[in-house]
């Protein structure tokens, strides 16, 4: 074998990727060719340098914890979904409709449980002025399609970066298309002097506004019906959420539960 030929295979050789016969030929050549032998030595040094000198970025404890929590939720969902998961192709990142059906089944089970204790909570409460204000916002934005969204996109990877640098918290921008909620886009509002992210989703022709502002405390979900509008409100992870729509309470609750479960 020529030196040039040897050098083409040198890396595969030091990585033990060559068959025995070829390996033996290379070893033979190296013993009497000082140039190729020097190149091999340099390669081994380089490999050692990279291994010992470059950082290895291990996963942080907070990342581990966060993944464990999400997996526990997902595992729970799978157990609640009385549907066998069909084989899915690796490169597909969309859920099949029946996986989604399972998720929605779980979400509605969870939400009906919530309804029981939430309903008697919300009856006792007065209509908070902020919710009335959000309904005004919701209606006003629908009346003027130009005002509805500043960034029009069904892609959360377009909408989320649009908010960068405009808010003092990270808004949740979820892709819920498979659950029947199409993202139409987002805009920025100031509500009670708080910078507020607004996302518009649509389900069966009903637009839904999702308002997000910064929260200092967590708050369990509550739902309300005000003048025929349904409002769900909760706070978690430093963000306060309001879902406003003219659909029935169940619809708003389902979306709210999906958002809670997924994020």
């Amino acid at each position: 074998m020529s030196c040039q030929h040897i050098r083409q295979m040198l890396d595969a050789w030091i990585d033990h990727e060559l068959d025995d016969v070829t390996s033996a030929e290379l070893a033979e050549h190296i013993t009497h060719c000082t140039t190729c032998s020097a190149i091999r030595a340099e390669r081994l040094k380089l490999r050692r340098l990279v291994k010992s000198g470059a950082p290895y970025f291990v996963a942080s404890n907070s990342l581990r914890q966060s993944i464990s929590q999400k997996l526990a939720v997902a595992a729970n969902q799978q157990q609640h979904a009385l549907i066998v998961t069909p084989p899915v192709r690796l490169n597909s990142n969309r859920r099949t409709w029946w996986q989604m059906a399972g998720l929605v089944t779980f979400a509605s089970l969870a939400s009906s449980a919530l309804t029981v204790w939430i309903l008697h909570l919300s009856v006792a409460n007065n209509v908070p002025t902020i919710q009335a204000q959000l309904i005004e916002q919701h209606v006003a934005s629908l009346a003027n399609p130009k005002r509805m969204v500043d960034v029009a996109s069904t892609d959360r990877h377009t909408v989320k970066p649009w908010f960068q640098g405009k808010l003092d918290f990270a808004p949740t921008v979820a892709d819920l298309a498979d659950a029947g909620y199409t993202l139409l886009g987002g805009r920025l509002e100031k509500i009670e002097s708080q910078p507020t992210a607004v996302l518009i989703y649509q389900t069966r022709k009903h637009p839904i506004s999702l308002f997000m502002t910064r929260a200092t405390a967590t708050k369990p979900m509550s739902v309300n019906t005000i003048r025929g509008f349904s409002v769900a409100n909760w706070a978690s992870g430093g963000v306060e959420f309001y879902v406003v729509a003219d659909t029935d309470l169940i619809e708003v609750e389902r979306l709210a539960t999906l958002l809670q479960v997924l994020h």
Binding site: D11, E17, K51, A74, P87
Partner: protein, 181 residues
């Protein structure tokens, strides 16, 4: 039908490679937050598709998902025009060496400046070479596994590793390689 041990099986076969996944994601995205997001997304996808697991090994399968998730992120960054400038990556690299967190025994053995140069040299590699070098040098994956993760023929894996090492050698300079023992 899902049984209670699915999560346990997932943890034992897939999640055990979480450090490897994070290391790959961090080298590909060159950004802490993006790497964590990508790994988290990849874990959820892997869990969802766990029943459909296939390929050379669980590790290669998981790394494929991590790699694809990172590529989606990088493509998106490019599309919205917020590609991280190379200078920025270099600042990040420099910051790592200012902090004390890297004072592991492995790093103590080598001079900090040298470690920084190696880090820089790898960061500077075009991504096609960087990914195969990371999979080979850190994870010691076989060419066959790398071929399945990156979805390229084994011959291409071979030539990319060789070319990647050539680029690293050029970046580090002969002096550094001669001085290193």
């Amino acid at each position: 039908v899902q049984d209670g041990s699915t999560l346990a099986r997932f943890e034992a076969t897939v999640l055990t490679h979480l450090d490897a996944a994070h290391n790959l994601a961090r080298w590909l995205t060159q950004n802490d937050a993006a790497a964590e997001d990508a790994v988290q997304d990849a874990c959820m996808r892997a869990f969802r598709f766990f029943d459909a697991m296939q390929g050379v090994s669980p590790k290669a399968w998981f790394m494929t998902i991590v790699r694809n998730t990172c590529m989606d992120y990088l493509r998106e960054q490019k599309r919205v025009g917020s590609t991280v400038e190379f200078d920025e990556v270099q600042h990040t690299v420099d910051d790592v060496y200012k902090s004390a967190s890297l004072d592991s025994p492995e790093c103590a053995a080598i001079r900090k400046a040298e470690a920084r140069d190696i880090h820089r040299a790898i960061s500077k590699l075009p991504i096609d070479f960087r990914e195969v070098i990371v999979l080979r040098e850190f994870e010691e994956m076989s060419y066959k596994e790398i071929s399945s993760v990156v979805n390229i023929p084994i011959g291409t894996v071979m030539s990319r590793i060789a070319r990647g090492r050539d680029l690293l050698r050029d970046a580090l300079g002969e002096a550094r390689l001669k001085a290193a023992s």
